[in-house]
Amino acid sequence: MKKLQCVVVAALLVAGVLLQGQTVEGPIRIGFLVPLSGPYAQNGRDILNGFLLLLDEIGYRAGGREIQLLAEDTEGIPAVALTKARKLVESDGVHLMAGGLLSSTGYALAPYIDSMQIPMVYPVVSADDLTQRRGSKWIVRTGYTGSQPNHPFGDYAYHTLGYRTIATIALDYSFGWESVGGFQRTFEEAGGRVTQQMWTPVSVHDFAPYLAQISRNVDAVYALFLGRATLQFMRQYEEYGLKDRIPLIGAGTTTDEHALPFMGDEALGVITALHYSAALDSPANRAFVSAYRARYNKLASYYAESMYSGGKWVIAAIEALDGQVDDREVLLNALRAARLTDLPRGSVELDAYGNPIENVYVRRVDRVNGELQNTVIDTFPRVSQFWNYNPAEYLAQPLYAR
């Protein structure tokens, strides 16, 4: 028995040494967290693809140092994301982290990120409060807030599209509430009225019961869905004969390029707003979309663009520091100070709360060369998460909820 004990102790000692976090000089380690399995795997994969494309373009080098990517699967489960974040920070000793998709994960990670004082880039997580009422010093958002594109869009729906009454139907979670909330606020302040609101479970399979309830007297229907749900919704909206009677508008994800190629004519004419469109006609975007297509044989979704651009953000900060990223405070400041003018989505800078000020594009689904695309029909330049409101007054009001 004595012998066995010795062996076990020795094994533990060796393991302990091997498992100690490595903190030697060398490559810049970037921890990356997205769902690569589970129901959100496809979106997570897009985000990762965007990042990989960028890292390839720069040959995994920035500021004179090698870049090492450590990607971990969060399964879309907040507790798993936290465990993986712990691994990246405490075991792998990463210099900074990036990633995240769901708001729940975003909120779950925030306290840990703050406690470990590790810079974190959120390319997609759009929960408003992460850069508003519950802002975190160490989180830099390079994506958007759920309400951000919807503030101008509500205004647009009233003034340009001329709608006066609207029914909304959206997934019943914070992304849905915040998007619809932002839209409703500006639409109603302009003089319109949201006369009907419907919330569907995130796991919704059949929209028939909801479509049957939609008031036929509204000027338009605003919809927020993504993934499989948006395909199903679009199809059923047409099958119910609603498409010809009531125009459909919605949040950017409803016609986002992750789902658009799988849609048919039912999507034609749908107008949505987002800070990106793969059909955006700029040199930077054309280059990105074609490179992305060449590598992955897919249309670039906003998820893909998010981490291509988020990656550019990180690289810009590393370059600005000449690769001297070991002081996290300095790295964080460089991330916050970065100002990028040549992203696929256009020019972006951060506001004082760590959220981008960026263009919002109003897009209409058209068929061009046989493929559906989100044609940009209008642009709201340099939109802040607070739209035209005073930030202090804005923050004094409660978060958009159902």
Partner: protein, 330 residues
Amino acid sequence: MAEPDAALGGPRPPSNTESMSPRGWRLAIVLVLGLVFSAGPLLFSSYWVGLLTQMVILAILAMSLDILLGYTGLPSLGHAAFFGVAAYAVGVLATVHGAGFWTCVAGGLLVGTLLSAVLGLIVSHVRDVYFLMITLALGMVLWGLSFRWIPVTGGDNGISDIPTLAAHSGLPFAGPLALYYVTLLVFIACAGVMALIVKSPFGLTLRGIRENEGRMKSLGFNTWLHCYLSYVIAGAFASVAGVAWAYYNGFVSPTYLDLTASSELFLMVTLGGPATLVGPVLGATAIVLLKNVMSAYTARWLLVLGIVYIVTILVAPKGVWNLGPSGRSR
């Protein structure tokens, strides 16, 4: 805690049912687990201390399910509900009401236990696959509630910013190591009490119900009551784990009580060895380890995990604890 079933005192030959495999295998398991859990954290990095904390908390949870599944023979697929609800109680009390540490702990235990006391009234009437289905359904309802009762639970965003154990309890030691050893003490206390329960006259009746409920009734046992109490006990210990988990992670979300959580728990018990208490500890440890080590090396880790499950079930149908050349030749 080595052999909770070796309950009945006096010297006896090693031919008991639930402690029948070779002693060497089990001794090795207990030795390795004991060493890793007691001294491991002093050697490992803080990340591994965190994983060990997870293992210890989930071990409490798995043992609590073992009372129900292994000892009483009631297969629950909704056991994570109590774990999650207790965690939510801590989250709500700590963040919304700004309650103190002991209020949160007591609140979590009370809410989780009361819930099991109420649900137990319903589920204790059914057995076998019906028990499986009704616990599954109730678990789904509670998951749905955590998801939809937004004013209280925060919906899918859950509740974050639960204070750390050190900050909340005024414990003089902060950091992962302190949290780990506090959790370990809770684990030892829970394991001790559960080991006593399964050795007690009451524990004997649970096994009797698993073996032959009809005979139990005709002998004079109100088996409904015993099943009910078993369910409440399991719920209470799951609540302990839930409270610990809330402090460990610092947030609560609906995934704590979803079907995936409940079925993973089920696997921990069945893989480790039901009706042994040590088995579930082993199961919890192995699954946490596998998930985190495997996913670092391959994107196909889910597949690998699935294969491991299947192989274990084929090689050790009674769980890893009961593995080894069988002494069942008689």
